[in-house]
Symmetry: C2
Subunit: 326 residues, 2 copies
Amino acid sequence: MRIVITGGCGFLGRRLALLLLDRGTAQGAVDELVLFDNAPSALPLPDDRRVRVVSGDIADRDTVRALIVPGTDAVFHLAAIVSGQAEADTDLGYRVNLDGTRAVLDACRTIGSAPKVIFASSLAVYGGALPPMVGDDTALTPQSSYGTQKAIGELLVNDYSRKGFIDGRALRLPTVVVRPGLPNRAASTFASSMIREPLTGKEAVCPVAPDTVMALASPRGVVASLAHALDIDGAALGDSRVLQLPGYSVSVGEMAEALKRAGGAAAYARLSWQHDPTIQAIVGSWPPALVAPRAEALGFKPDSGIDEAIGFFIEDDLALQKTLAG
Amino acid sequence: MRIVITGGCGFLGRRLALLLLDRGTAQGAVDELVLFDNAPSALPLPDDRRVRVVSGDIADRDTVRALIVPGTDAVFHLAAIVSGQAEADTDLGYRVNLDGTRAVLDACRTIGSAPKVIFASSLAVYGGALPPMVGDDTALTPQSSYGTQKAIGELLVNDYSRKGFIDGRALRLPTVVVRPGLPNRAASTFASSMIREPLTGKEAVCPVAPDTVMALASPRGVVASLAHALDIDGAALGDSRVLQLPGYSVSVGEMAEALKRAGGAAAYARLSWQHDPTIQAIVGSWPPALVAPRAEALGFKPDSGIDEAIGFFIEDDLALQKTLAG
């Protein structure tokens, strides 16, 4: 298997690489794993002769054609400009999140072997007046450019799969918490920072009200879902290659309580609250509760809740995080 | 008012031009009306000093920037590659229906005055396993490239409106019957041909089963809806600038009966049936019944049915059609 991961030096891409190298896929072992990103990795990458790291611009069609060459079996397309930045810089967001996705899909089409494509979508595709149950059957009226671009990516994955150009799957990821590394320009970045920073001795600010409810999944769970999406049979997805992944619902206030349980009063004291109406509006437009019967029937597993997610962070990332926190 | 109509030499664009020149808009009289199309008009255009005809490629950004200049108050974006052709020629469909739409929206954004944009979408955005009631709240899983491109256009109109770059409205048009002119490469073209051709003394072939139910609107009704979309207040649309227009449901067999009522046994005898599974599959993926409560609350009017629609064709187009059929 030759596998390409775009955004491969990001925290999900890197961890997905480790999993695939370790475990292989249902289709066979990994012979070559290409990690593509716009900059060299800030985190240590696996020391494995099968890994190749390529830096470049995902929206440059020549670059992407040179990346997705004949013999490529699967592409995980994770590269994206995050929500807050795509909202602030419209041109950059469309360039990376729309033109970049088209470049990836067209390169896959060009090689002619209908490679598997696993596209990371987001619950930012939802928005506006939402029904109580949000999932595969919900009409999409995203309230951000990022959500718009992800919804467009889903449509393209469906059309290219229907025409036999790719064998695609688009997964709507819940908000991923606890994300390791540094805060970024995602509107949701606080949801990881408010756990991660206090647990590593740093201050964090929560910009939304404690009663804000979010639908979350852990990095460990999301990476397992991405790998599972490669293993399942595309035909089992039916008319739509888009799947809402399961997520658990938790209020930001409950997240703070879980921080106190995991890190004690000292960690809890490092969290302060400072309302940001822009962040509140974006996060408030996302669904607080998800239903994912199709994904669950296909074997995608939900996390149990915030305490488990914090436990995963402590097991998987805390030591590395402390070196970053330096 | 300076108004641009892309696809302005098509049958809807031309008739919309006549209506706007005659009646003006709620915002004032029309001072300049630019009809943009990829080829000179096959039909006679209004002889009016306010009209200017421009030919060019809608996907060429320089062309579109020269078309949508400062002072443009409204753009009707009707230009598109039709469904059958977009399915057969993937690159051309994406070039015109996606790149062209982005070129229009970006040109509107560049002039900085948030012009009104009325985008013609289609019920081809629906598909797959549909609920009994199809409309604004239905999740979109289009089963054609054309429907995919229209769904993407809707998302872009919403995002650009939300950001204040345009004041957009996207109307999901039912299948427009009876369309004048010549058969084209739309999968739905037979639905007009089976009425129009026999009424002008020509043979027609129906490629779908008589029990196939379609949701239709007349050209007169659709043009009135396009003009009405310019007149309404964008804020009244709320979180979504997309509106399902009302349509009436009729089986293809009932359409043949209505042809007999309007044109007699001689006209009816000119219609033959020859099944085409490709056309049947595309048309069968469209919703047979529509609900449009938001559009109706905003004053968009449905047609009464197929007999009225045939009457409109006879009143509005039959004389001109006979010169084409000549």
